[in-house]
Subunit: 353 residues, 2 copies
Amino acid sequence: MSQTISFQSLHRFTSNAFLNVGMSEADAATGADVLATTDAWGIFTHGTKSLAGYLRRLQADGLRAKGRPRVVREGGGWASVDGDSSLGMVASVFAMKTAIAKAREQGIAYVGVHNSCHFGAAGYYAWLAAREGLIGISMANDIPSVAAPGSRGSITGSNPLAYAVPAGNRRPILLDISTATVAGGKVYAARARGEPIPANWIIDGNGRPTTDPSGFPQVGALLPMAGHKGYGLSLLIETLSGILSGAAVTWGIRSWAHDDASLPTLHGAAFLAIDPECICGRDEFTRKVEGLIDEIHGSPRADGVERLIVPGEPEWERYDRALSEGIALPTDVLENLQKAAEMTGLKLETLFI
Amino acid sequence: MSQTISFQSLHRFTSNAFLNVGMSEADAATGADVLATTDAWGIFTHGTKSLAGYLRRLQADGLRAKGRPRVVREGGGWASVDGDSSLGMVASVFAMKTAIAKAREQGIAYVGVHNSCHFGAAGYYAWLAAREGLIGISMANDIPSVAAPGSRGSITGSNPLAYAVPAGNRRPILLDISTATVAGGKVYAARARGEPIPANWIIDGNGRPTTDPSGFPQVGALLPMAGHKGYGLSLLIETLSGILSGAAVTWGIRSWAHDDASLPTLHGAAFLAIDPECICGRDEFTRKVEGLIDEIHGSPRADGVERLIVPGEPEWERYDRALSEGIALPTDVLENLQKAAEMTGLKLETLFI
């Protein structure tokens, strides 16, 4: 079951919801653009499905509708941003724009954010940089949900990492991953269907890998992607987005979805921008990125494989279709938008016009 | 079979070998320190085992014994280094030192290297930064040996990535990984033993995952770690170490082990340094990193697991043992050191004093 909504309607509805809880027009538009774009990419787990959850915190003041992210300390190639408990998307867009401006001067910049919240899809912020011709890298920490090798429970968050590389006239190379093997949602789906899962997805309550999803997430934890490699990368993300940024780390973070909505969640995030124009010239850079993409597209394929994909291509194809034909929103997203409508006095029907 | 050699003897032997092919004392010591430290960490695949291979190129002039890496362009937070076809370790140490100096001023720095060669263990250069109190990140490209999802053959190199985070009085957190599921050496070992391998290690000549290692590497390719995630990360590494640096990419790189030794291999590498002292203060940073390490060590463990490991701990324990008790060099390393001795007029026996 799904229903097709135009990108513009979804954007406007989301923006109006944010306006109705007291956000400024500019901040509401920023939040709406992140969430609607994420849905347009087809990443429905991180788009407007979460709107009602963010609104709950905005109404309870754990997220501050009038929060103003600001640079509290800075140097040539870096800045430390206090998110002021504003919507995670507002703090994150501010931070990446700060990184972009600094990278244009210094070649590269790091901006860490503390006092933020769940920022949605990491890829959006990386794309902000790539739209401006820069390489963007974004990451964040979150409440622990992922095991370390040998642990009985969760050690780190699913700590997402995204990057975007500008590719001239083509859409940027864009990767947005969690450092867990899979998202918890895939485990829930298997549990709902009563199906076993691969042995590298979760551990049970005794810390042993299991193919039985029925106990998750009451006991057990997700497994890191590629074992110790994903665990190691999640600790780098924790360091850059939690420690260096001055945010909370691991168990010091609150769940944006489940914990007391009147309290800040204290998430951290990190944004890097690198300007090829400074370092090797934009034309040279673009020509070589295009060459790499062509090389991949032209490489021999396994039997039955129609094409080789450069990261982001499926998302960009869905995005183009979303903008021209609308987005087929899944039922669970629509149900959450109904909640958002009720919370903010909007009518869900406005989505369909 | 293995033989125990003191760290100092291994370092001196390696340095003498480099001296005997015309390198300066300083460069020979640099190369020896990288390779002997790698062996001390127990990463024998990337230590002095490769010495004879590097000497072959140095003697044939594909690697230039008197090569002088230099900054050819730079800005506040970045530099572009021409490796001058010097030993990869010499160019890489120069580049990371450049990144450290710039990061101390700007908070973060990127240094790309072109006209380099295989740089051994990426972790050494990350550690250089951590020894100075900075976060270090290092990466490089290499000849293609790893598939993309759906490809019939190799698309990217095994593109290594390492980072090191300073941890006060403790040894740095240190992760050094390839973006392939496993190193080719593990496939060779299974083939030699006539054993099947897990289905996520390699593809066969038709691009299909296989548990049969017997055809590798004549046909097939390694698989990326965690599927599209490892593939995506390898493209970011290719971008930063190959494209942005002005180096060769993918099939434009020559094999340092197998291709004509009189030609440069044209590898690229990238080094990032981030200075916590600038951004949040070294004491605050260190206290939180130590807290994270303590938290991991104190977390509940699965049945039968003796301890939870922070990345780098096994390497540092081997390192400490190596410096106090010597390094138990495997037979294949000793055989390669015998070759190195013959190539440079050294006596292998000098290793044992």
